[in-house]
């Protein structure tokens, strides 16, 4: 009889919720019962409220149990979970769960399904088909396929990836680089982390295709230090890919050479900005560069560089595999394809939900996310990270789309949605946005460096009721200056959370007239 195959996730969320201890208890429990089983540490399916989600392979499919605590392992073994037996923690066949079935997983097709470091499983699930097709198409054909797909930068700026690649491909140089921006600093986002931890070869393949397309032979992944696990998984995957001849010279006998290295950030949020990231990779302070010149012309070490968000690069393999048209057929308007939306914060069913553009914010938060974790009413969501706007419930009909969000003075950013219940003080959140900007400013431009500190002080005065009207006007003026006068998105977008909080929740800033203070 075939020994049962059990899956225990090893992504950072599952581990943070006790997956390692669950795996240990499981091993001990199996040993005590004299059962031989194969415990595979898969990546996460992205349903984080169920982590650790233990799955068992059965004839009916993979049956899940979650969230499993280490103390429950023996009870599960006793209940017969190895045969997919019923149990209060049993969630049935995982692939049949509506939360997963409603999704369109293109970029994240393999996460949680395969052993992240198994090249055999990666290839069995469609891996390296994209690279093979790119090798057939050749460099210009590959660039055009990406252009055709309508893929836009998933880091937040939404710049067409194909145009970036065309520019670098056309730039003459003795050396070009591919840089992957894995400095996913936005609170409420974890898509990059999931790819690195759950499907690392997908990024390696995407970067290899990019290298082939534009004529770059060297790639760097700039991964934030807050993702220690992702860094280690990627290093292992790069080494294994190299051993298998999928990185290095003459990849798959094609004559194409490409190799890559992992680099670690050091806790600077601003290094998620592309030019600051390049400075950091060069071993300097992460000071933002003025553009032009664009990194596509003068990038890393002064050479033409494709610098893309991790999700953009990880989406390239499926575009090449299925064709640009296939990908372009998902989505709405100018937002083509799918977006990994990350539901986070005070939400009942948080996790990664990949879907075509166009789904409404309300559906994401209330139907898919199930509302707040606290059970209290939703007051606001922050979309797009610390530089994204706060949207009130009455804007929940907004479709998830670059332009639709922009029209509401909001941004989709990297796809993170952080939910807050009615206990949140929006003046505090607005002040936090300014404080965060002050903390993380690289200091190169004045609006960001000084403006953020003045912003904190001004919000304090408004909340204290000190010269309210004048200070409100001052804050508005300050936000205007930061928005238009900052060198990069850190100073330029910090006004989004501040202004949106002020616009939609004036009562939190003391707008309701208070009783006059007692006689002085």
């Amino acid at each position: 009889m075939k020994s049962p195959r059990i899956f225990v996730p090893n992504d950072a969320t599952a581990i943070a919720c006790g997956a390692d201890r669950v795996a240990k208890r499981l091993e001990a429990g199996l040993l005590a019962r004299g059962i031989t089983a194969d415990i595979t540490r898969n990546g996460s399916r992205g349903m984080f409220w169920l982590e650790p989600l233990v799955e068992i392979e059965t004839e009916r499919g993979r049956i899940g149990y979650g969230p499993v605590t280490p103390a429950e392992v023996d009870e599960l073994l006793h209940a017969g979970f190895l045969h997919g037996a019923d149990h209060p923690k049993c969630i049935g066949v995982v692939d049949e769960l509506p939360w997963l079935k409603k999704q369109t997983r293109l970029t994240f097709a393999r996460i949680g399904i395969i052993d992240p470091l198994s090249l055999t499983e990666y290839e069995a699930h469609g891996g390296y088909r994209g690279l093979k097709r790119a090798l057939e198409l050749g460099p210009s054909g590959t660039v055009e396929e990406v252009f055709e797909s309508g893929l836009r930068g998933r880091g937040g700026a939404g710049f067409p990836t194909g145009i970036k690649w065309r520019t670098v491909a056309a730039a003459p140089a003795d050396q070009k680089y591919i840089v992957c921006n894995a400095d996913e600093g936005d609170s409420g986002t974890f898509a990059d982390r999931l790819i690195m931890e759950a499907d690392p070869y997908c990024l390696i393949e995407g970067m290899t295709i990019a290298g082939l397309a534009v004529g770059a032979t060297k790639g760097f992944v700039y991964c934030r230090s807050e993702y220690p696990l992702a860094f280690v998984v990627m290093e292992k995957a790069i080494e294994k890919a190299r051993m298998a001849g999928l990185l290095g010279d003459n990849i798959l006998g094609s004559g194409v050479s490409f190799d890559m290295e992992m680099r670690m950030g050091a806790g600077a949020y601003v290094c998620g900005e592309e030019t600051s990231l390049l400075e950091s990779l060069e071993g300097k302070r992460g000071l933002v560069r003025a553009k032009p010149p664009l990194p596509a012309h003068v990038g890393l070490f002064g050479k033409p560089t494709v610098i893309n968000n991790l999700v953009s690069l990880a989406t390239v393999p499926i575009i090449l595999d299925k064709g640009g048209k296939f990908y372009r057929d998902f989505g709405m308007g100018r937002s083509r394809g799918t977006m990994p939306i990350q539901l986070a914060g005070n939400i009942k069913h948080g996790g990664l939900f990949e879907t075509a553009f166009g789904i409404s914010l309300g559906e994401l938060v209330n139907e898919i996310g199930g509302g707040t974790a606290s059970g209290r009413p939703v007051k606001a969501v922050q979309a797009g990270g610390p530089l994204g706007a706060y949207l009130p419930v009455h804007q929940f009909d907004t479709p998830f789309d670059y332009e639709a969000f922009a029209a509401k003075d909001a941004l989709i950013g990297h796809g993170g949605i952080v939910v807050f219940d009615d206990t949140v003080d929006m003046a505090h959140m607005a002040k936090f946005a300014m404080e965060f900007c002050a903390h993380e400013s690289c200091g190169k431009c004045t609006p960001c460096r000084i403006g953020s500190t003045r912003g904190v002080e001004t919000i304090d005065k408004i909340v204290a009721g000190e010269k309210r009207e004048q200070n409100l006007a001052l804050l508005e003026d300050l936000c205007h200056t930061m928005k238009l006068g900052s060198l990069c998105a850190l100073g330029g977008f910090t006004p989004y959370p501040v202004v949106s909080a002020l616009t939609h929740f004036p009562e939190d800033f003391g707008a309701t007239p208070k009783l006059p203070a007692a006689a002085e």
Partner: protein, 164 residues
């Protein structure tokens, strides 16, 4: 609790030699120094500058720009609590105050007895199981008062977090 090596010029020179071939080697060297000694001791600044043909000011500039690099040894246990929005939405602010009281140290400080360092961290990417923390390099999700108590017990007993 992390165990670090005592300072030695020879060891520092060795760490530099292991990484100096990398493109833009400053950051990898600083990371390796911190991994070796627990912090970046001042004498390494001129050593890195000389090896990489940079000015001391440039190396010093890099060292002081990034939040991660320490110039003083950390406490034996380092507790990093996420202070970003997603964790705030799940009550991290109140939990931080609780941790400060329980550990007897303020955010951003190392206790006088060198037992513990408490620091903010801006996002561990565990935003769907907030609040989160990084304790002695171990990720903790769904952080609550009970886990903070457990961390405090480990700190007091001089044990590695999670060691039962």
């Amino acid at each position: 609790m992390a165990v670090y090596e005592d300072w030695s010029t020879e060891r520092a020179a060795q760490v530099i030699a292991e990484h100096k071939h990398l493109d833009g080697a400053t950051m990898p060297i600083l990371h390796a120094m911190q991994e070796t000694f627990g912090f970046v001791p001042d004498p390494v600044v001129p050593m890195i500058a000389e090896t990489l043909n940079l000015s001391r000011a440039e190396v010093y500039g890099v060292l002081t720009f990034y939040h991660d690099f320490r110039r003083e040894p950390p406490g034996r246990t380092v507790v990093k609590l996420c202070a970003a929005e997603a964790c705030q939405s799940m009550g991290s602010t109140a939990l931080t105050a609780y941790a400060e009281a329980k550990l007897g140290v303020s955010m951003g400080e190392t206790s006088a007895d060198g037992r513990v360092t408490l620091e903010p961290i801006y996002c561990l990417g565990l935003c769907a199981c907030a609040p989160s923390a990084l304790v002695d390099g171990q990720l903790v999700g769904r952080l609550d008062r009970a886990t903070v108590d457990e961390i405090a017990e480990c700190v007091a007993a001089g044990k590695h977090f999670g060691e039962v």
